[in-house]
């Protein structure tokens, strides 16, 4: 009898091979620690997890929750928060989960970096460890910057609070109930991480011609060893230059009106940090001549290879050949979805080509022919009625009585404002399903123009329009260079700029307007308005054109409360952890 059972059991197990029946089929699961010497993929992948979470890896287009644009996508979460749905519980700008998760992975990297054998050659392994430690520090600072931008704010007692500082790996038994550090402590942490990154990392990842070029901080190593750890193979990873640029971004935030009362970072600091990056680039003359159209410089982009940066770009992600942006934003007659619709508010912010604002009586602005004689950037960035787009330079009619689907509000993919997006799009993309083609795109993390504008803003506040601090260029010089590049005021000596030169306040308004124009649709406006304590409630307007008559119409209200200059701490975290204090006004 026993024999029967044995025979039977053996036959059952034979037929199933035991897989998943008695023991689970093997999965490629791994655990941390005890890193095998011949495979650094697991610990290196932990660092890459941090890279994957960089918020600027993709476009967010939160501009549609500002006075710059609306979207015709009714399900857009930014549209919804602009329409009054922004709560601590419903926050599409939430960085808490993403950034702290990244910090957790970076903390793992920093904990384990010295225990990993990164390469067989112990010298190279040590260089690798320096680089990876530097990258992890730099990235951690970047994520704290994004956390501060999205979550720092004013407590009930009007103190400027930052976020909790986690510098250790958290396990399931860690104490999570930690209070928010004050804003300045967070800034100090960011500066310290960036300083360490800058100290450990080379300015750029490039192969060097000979060993004499090796910075002394790496000790006596050979050219080959240096190139293996810091050579051009690592372009795209965080460098000393990038750490400096992040410092400029963070300092600008900290010096801004919304945070300055809780911050020891001064405008002068912010100006100096930006100036350092500009000086490293080569000063004011290094402003990239074709930087205005960085997204559509066809031959330059076609020539991109091995992670090399165009002169406008300080840090970017990999290029890709696709047509997603065009599919989303081309007007319907070019087979796009017409998603982002720039507002009349933004159109009005573009000056005339002579540099004068359209509100200036001397500007020559003609309300019945509103797009004539304007700043060339207007038609470059925004597809206005009668403007051209697409591979065949099709003239687009956005008038309310236009014959095509491009007409105002005609169908669900039509514009809601009378304007379509033109910036960021490659007009040489054809979306016609019969002959669609892709073009090369890349997403910048940091453009030099941003750093120039950071400098102008901070230097104007610190030293006035023409003050230069330790550098050889002033806010005025930067704005002049930027407007000249754009083709504004080039024939008449730009009287408006010259007028602003005399007043810090006028200069401030001009710098902010230039920043709005230069960086439009790149995710800056939403946070810039907030750090300036600027009004958030300006109604988004559009233009309705009938029989060639232009009339401005209201398109979408902006339902932001005054306290919404600071983002909320996630409601769920407040509920779970009693030590976390919410920002004033949020519930």
């Amino acid at each position: 009898m026993k024999r029967n059972i044995i025979i039977f059991l053996s036959s059952v197990f034979l037929l199933t091979g035991c897989k998943d029946l008695l023991t689970p089929e093997i999965e490629n699961n791994q655990e941390l620690g005890n890193y095998p010497p011949n495979n650094a993929g697991l610990p290196f992948g932990v660092l890459l997890n941090g890279y994957n979470r960089i918020p600027t890896n993709s476009w967010s287009f939160n501009d549609v929750a500002t006075d710059d644009a609306v979207t015709n996508d009714q399900n857009n979460t930014f549209l919804k928060i602009a329409n009054g749905q922004w709560t601590a519980n419903n926050n599409p700008l939430n960085q808490w989960g993403n950034a702290y998760a990244a910090i957790q992975y970076l903390n793992i990297t920093l904990r384990d970096v010295d225990t990993v054998k990164w390469a067989a050659d112990p010298v190279v392994s040590k260089l690798f460890a320096m680089r990876i430690k530097g990258e992890a520090c730099g990235l951690r600072a970047l994520f704290y910057y994004h956390l501060l931008q999205a979550h720092a704010g004013m407590s009930e007692s009007s103190a400027i609070l930052g976020v909790p500082i986690n510098l250790d790996v958290q396990g399931t038994n860690s104490d999570f109930n930690k209070p928010r550090s004050n804003f300045d402590a967070c800034m100090k942490q960011i500066y310290s991480d960036l300083a360490q990154a800058d100290q450990l990392l080379p300015t750029d990842y490039e192969n060097i011609p000979n060993a004499s070029q090796i910075p002394p901080k790496y000790g006596t190593v050979t050219k080959e060893q240096y190139d293996r750890a810091f050579g051009s193979a690592f372009r795209g990873f965080l460098t000393g230059r990038i750490a400096k640029a992040i410092r400029s971004k963070a300092a600008l935030l900290a010096a801004s009106p919304a945070f300055s009362s809780g911050s020891t970072t001064t405008w002068a600091d912010a100006a100096n940090y930006a100036g350092e990056v500009i000086a490293l680039k080569g000063g004011i003359s290094a402003l990239s001549a074709n930087g205005l159209t960085w997204y559509s410089n066809a031959s330059e982009i076609a020539g991109l290879a091995d992670g090399a940066n165009p002169s406008e770009i300080l840090w970017r992600n990999n290029y890709g050949d696709n047509r997603d942006l065009e599919q989303a934003n081309f007007p319907p007659s070019l087979f796009g979805n017409g998603r982002i619709n720039p507002t009349q508010n933004l159109v009005d912010a573009f000056p005339m080509a002579n540099g004068l604002p359209i509100t200036d009586a001397a500007s020559g602005y003609d309300a019945s022919n509103p797009y004539a004689g304007r700043d060339p950037r207007l038609r470059m960035f925004i597809l206005v009625n009668g403007g051209t787009a697409g591979p065949n330079n099709t003239t687009i009619n956005t008038a309310a009585d236009g014959p095509t689907n491009d007409a105002l509000n005609k169908v669900e993919t039509s514009t809601r404002t009378g304007y379509y997006l033109r910036k960021l799009l490659r007009q040489d993309v054809n979306l016609n399903p019969n002959s669609a083609n892709n073009q090369r795109h890349y997403k910048p993390h940091i453009r030099y123009t941003e750093i120039f504008l950071n400098y102008a803003e901070a230097a104007n506040e610190a030293w006035g329009p023409t003050g230069t601090g330790a550098y050889s260029f002033s806010a005025y010089d930067v704005i002049k260079a930027i407007r000249t590049r754009a083709g504004v005021g080039t024939t008449n000596g730009d009287p408006h700029l010259e007028q602003c030169r005399g007043s810090k306040e006028q200069m401030r308004a001009l710098i902010r307007n230039e920043r709005r124009i230069e960086l439009c649709f790149e995710g800056f406006r939403f946070w810039d308005l907030r750090r300036w304590n600027a009004g958030l409630g300006e109604t988004a307007k559009g233009v309705s054109i009938r029989n060639n008559n232009y009339s401005v119409v209201n398109v979408e209200n902006r339902q932001f409360q005054p306290f919404m200059i600071y983002g909320p701490i996630p409601y769920g975290e407040i509920l779970k952890f009693s030590s976390l204090e919410q920002n004033k006004g949020w519930r």
Binding site: F8, L14, L21, N52, G236, G307, N318, V553
Partner: protein
């Protein structure tokens, strides 16, 4: 590879036969002939009178005389107490077994079924192990019986008639109301009165379309359903056979383009069972089934489009005779088109509707869904009575193979958008814009290839003996296992367990039964993979006691009780969940314009203490028969807890411990959630012969209540706790009518779902914090996701001479639904349904039943709230059948022995306050009533 293993295992099993045989010397025949009063329970059959209370069964084969069924579990909630359509005792995911092997209900048709058992309580299911812990539905198929060859033929012809179509507004009314919605949003009107007038006039439906997707232009009034079945069975003491050959076909409603010839589906099935007595000790059975299913369709989802495409959007067809003769370009289009419909039309469309359901059905090609199912069982029985009287051994082995795939011809096509002109009152097309291109590749695309293989095997020793015809003993010792592997799924679904059943009854009066299993699951950490699931039941037939003998009117009365603990891995979603793991196959990160490498991602924290969730249960049953079998009653009360359900408790950790992209979690899976269910089921039947009429009336019911008894949760306000609420709780806001005016809005708590205006829904501020958000959501009612809280079934059979009547109705009560389909939630660019006619306007503020219209997304109005809540109480008349037995009319019964005809109606009637909503499908093919005429004959 698997096939080879299967063959090896099969051979190994066959090899057992001689081994068993060698031990036997005495001579006696064992036969496995089903006896009608035997009921299939776990791994054995028992007499109906000895059946435990937590098992119910229905004899499908005998039912089919009065009630022709088309699917295997049709209306079973009208027959079986405790079963409410998709779950047993409200537990969800029961195990469906056909002839001992886990299979799908669709693998078998009612004509093939002998009996269906519903094993409900812990004692009834324990032997099936881990994956049976939420109940078992056991379908037993027919087998041959000794005797002359019998041939049964049955044929049915039926017609499916749609119950209801949703009604949408026509173009002109839509445009008028869309303009109103624009005004409500503070925007200019979009459609001019002239435009609306043109659409309203209907003079030129090609220029001003007003498409009704549900009109007779596109749909038939009904479609047919036909089936024919032949059953051949017979045999003798040595061998018996049963064969079932069936074919059924059914059409569809679409009536144009390629849909005319590509709307049908057909199913052919072939079943053969053979039972053979090899000698006095050894018998075996071999069963095989094959099912071939082919469904044909067009490359468009017409019904989904019907619910979304607005009527004015485009004309499906463009008449050639309205093209200006001088328009050369258009005439070239006409000349080159592959698709001139009826010789008169081009396909219409717009830039945004380049592919549309009409054009796709005319020109987009067609597809076939092909499914093949093969099932193969063998069993060997060895009588071991010369080892021990009453001992036998049975082993079974089964292999199933299901495969399916799609074949499609996907053609692209051009559509044309006309530009119209009007010359002295005559509309003409002055130009056409072509979108897309006509192309017929002729390539047949294969897609969605899928297979699933099931291997199941059991071995069991059975012991059945009676001593002095008073002490009845039974025992089963078994090993049971099955495994299913599926295409593109790495891990398999497995079950492995040992089982032991020990039963004793004294004179059918006192019963005791122990059923236990040692279950094993590879989903748990080493050390916790095996668990013991003990159960026991007791029975007491009171009617056999002396004190009951004198009680008149009681034929039979029995009390049963059972209790036990089952361990199950049913709800452990995956393998290795106990292990804290990192994967190096995370999201890609590329640098230097290269492809990069995959990042490392943590998948979960470690929990080496993970164990089986448990079902603990006590049930009490009562079975009785009264007044000479006039009344029969069978009922159960049960209370069970399923404890230690596995969750990843987000609320105990910071939010960043889990992120969606890149996929990451540091949170361990732990045994945490507990659920509780309490319920009662009953089956009351009345059987009576009154003069010449036989009556039989059955009333079955199931009532149950569920509670989430333990939850990991953190809510600011206690009323939001899920703990203590039903498992199928619907949550939402409470409404307080519509906002009357701007003052009303100003003086009310602010609502955080977007800007509100008069005519929007106003909600109650539950926590009084002055802001309406998801924290104000309260428990609204039970969703009935595991069956309605109260399910009733009523079945009536009447027989008068050769005429019989049958009706079955079901009632479902106590659950709620949310009116949240696209038919009710209309905003933005949606298609306007007729509900919007009751919208709020300042003039109709007092009587409005629907919020104001808007061209934005109305997140404020269209969210779960009691504004949209409805009671889902309903009574359905599911079946009526009238049968006439023609056997009496047949003079010479040599060839045809029996004959009958019947007419039946399926899904005839629904009674409910929300009948219209319940009978209407939005975005899918309509529900239908089926009127059926059938004939059957036995040769």
């Amino acid at each position: 590879m698997n096939q080879i293993k299967a063959i090896i295992a099969g051979v190994a099993l066959m090899g057992l036969a001689p081994v068993s045989q060698a031990q036997d010397t005495a001579v006696k025949t064992t036969t496995v002939i089903p006896v009608n009063n035997k009921v299939q329970v776990a791994f054995r059959k028992v007499d109906k009178k000895d059946l435990a209370g937590d098992v119910s069964a229905v004899g499908v084969a005998s039912q089919m005389n009065l009630n022709y069924m088309t699917t295997s579990l049709e209306n079973m909630d009208g027959w079986i107490n405790g079963f409410n359509g998709n779950s047993i005792w409200g537990m969800g995911s029961y195990l469906l077994i056909i002839d001992g092997v886990p299979r799908d209900a669709g693998n078998v048709l009612p004509t093939e079924i002998e009996q269906i058992s519903f094993l409900k309580g812990v004692n009834a299911v324990a032997l099936y192990g881990s994956r049976a812990a939420k109940g078992v539905v056991y379908i037993t198929t027919k087998r041959g019986k000794p005797g002359n060859q019998q041939i049964n033929i049955r044929a049915n012809a039926g017609v499916n008639v749609p119950k209801a179509y949703p009604h949408y507004l026509g173009s002109a009314e839509y445009m008028t109301l869309y303009n109103e919605a624009r005004r409500n949003d503070g925007l200019a009107e979009l459609y001019s009165p002239e435009t609306i007038y043109q659409y309203a006039s209907g003079k030129n439906p090609y220029r001003y379309p007003n498409v009704d997707y549900y009109s007779g232009e596109y749909l038939k009034n009904s479609f047919g359903r036909y089936d024919v079945t032949a059953e051949i069975s017979g045999g003798n003491d040595k061998a018996r056979y049963y064969t079932n050959i069936g074919y059924q076909t059914s059409g569809s409603l679409l009536n144009f383009g390629e849909a005319v010839n590509n709307g049908s589906s057909d199913r052919f099935n072939l079943r053969g069972n053979v039972d053979v007595n090899l000698n006095q000790y050894i018998s075996c059975n071999v069963d095989a089934t094959a099912i071939f299913y082919t469904g044909r369709g067009v490359n468009a989802n017409y019904w989904e489009s019907a619910a979304t495409l607005r009527p004015h959007r485009f004309a499906p067809l463009i008449p050639l005779d309205m093209i200006e003769p001088t328009d050369e370009a258009s005439n070239v289009f006409v000349k080159n088109s592959n698709h001139i419909i009826d010789g008169k039309y081009l396909l219409g469309g717009t830039q945004l509707d380049q592919t549309n359901p009409f054009a796709a059905i005319y020109a987009g090609g067609n597809n076939k869904y092909i499914s093949r199912q093969f099932q193969f069982n063998t069993g060997v029985n060895a009588d071991l009575r010369n080892v021990l009287k009453g001992l036998s051994f049975r082993s079974t082995f089964a292999v199933d193979y299901n495969t399916s795939y799609n074949l499609a011809f996907n053609n692209t096509y051009a559509v044309y958008a006309p530009t119209w002109n009007n010359y002295s009152g005559v509309d003409l097309i002055s130009s056409l814009t072509q979108y897309g291109q006509d192309a017929t590749s002729g390539v047949q695309n294969v897609s969605n290839s899928w297979y699933r293989q099931t291997i199941a095997a059991t071995g069991q020793f059975n012991y059945v003996n009676s001593i002095n015809n008073r002490h009845h003993l039974s025992a089963v010792l078994l090993v049971n296992g099955f495994q299913q592997s599926e295409s593109a799924v790495y891990h398999r679904t497995s079950n492995a367990n040992l089982g032991l059943q020990l039963g004793y009854n004294f004179d059918h009066t006192y019963y005791i039964d122990f059923s236990g299993a040692v279950v094993h699951s590879a989903k748990l950490p080493e050390g916790n993979r095996t668990a013991f699931s003990p159960t026991a039941s007791l029975g007491w037939r009171l009617s056999n006691e002396p004190f009951m003998r004198g009680v008149r009117g009681v034929d039979d009365l029995r009390l049963t009780a059972s209790a036990g603990i089952l361990h199950t891995d049913l709800d452990i979603a995956s393998y290795y969940l106990y292990q804290g793991v990192y994967t190096t196959q995370g999201s890609w990160f590329g640098w230097k314009d290269g492809t990069g490498v995959q990042a490392t991602e943590s998948r979960r924290g470690a929990n080496p203490a993970m164990r089986f969730p448990k079902r603990e249960e006590i049930s009490i049953g009562l079975q009785g028969s009264f007044f000479h079998e006039l009344v029969k009653l069978d009922g159960n009360f049960f209370v069970n807890r399923i404890t230690g359900n596995i969750i990843q408790p987000d609320v105990l950790f910071p939010s960043y411990f889990t992120t969606g992209w890149p996929v990451s979690s540091f949170i361990p899976y732990i045994n945490y959630n507990d659920d509780k269910r309490v319920g009662v089921d009953f089956n009351l039947s009345l059987n009576k012969k009154l003069s010449a009429i036989n009556y039989s009336i059955g009333l079955v019911g199931t009532w149950y209540k569920t509670t989430a008894t333990k939850r990991a949760e953190v809510y600011e306000d206690n009323y939001q706790n899920r703990q203590g609420k039903p498992l199928d709780a619907i949550w939402g806001l409470q409404h307080q009518g519509f906002f009357r005016d701007a003052d009303d809005i100003k003086n009310s708590p602010s609502q955080s779902f977007g800007q509100v205006k008069p005519g929007d829904i106003k909600y109650k501020d539950q926590n009084g914090d002055g802001i309406i958000d998801t924290r104000d959501e309260v428990y609204l009612g039970r969703g009935g996701w595991y069956g309605s809280p109260l399910t009733l079934g009523l079945n009536i059979s009447l027989r008068w001479k050769d005429l019989s009547f049958f009706a079955l109705a079901q009632g479902r009560f106590g659950s709620y639904g949310m009116k949240n389909s696209s038919w009710f939630w209309v905003d933005g660019e949606d298609k306007y349904s007729e509900v919007v006619r009751d919208r709020w306007t300042p003039e109709t503020a007092a009587s409005a039943k629907y919020p104001r219209l808007t061209t934005f997304n109305s997140d404020n109005n269209f969210r779960n709230s009691d504004f949209w809540l409805y009671k889902a109480n309903r009574i359905d008349l599911a079946k009526v059948q009238i049968s006439y037995d023609l056997s009496g009319l047949i003079g010479n019964k040599k060839i045809v022995q029996e004959m009958g005809v019947y007419v039946s109606g399926f899904n005839l009637l629904t009674l409910s306050a929300e009948r219209k909503l319940m009978e209407m499908n939005i975005g899918s093919a309509p529900q239908t009533r089926l009127y059926n005429l059938g004939v059957k004959a036995m040769f």
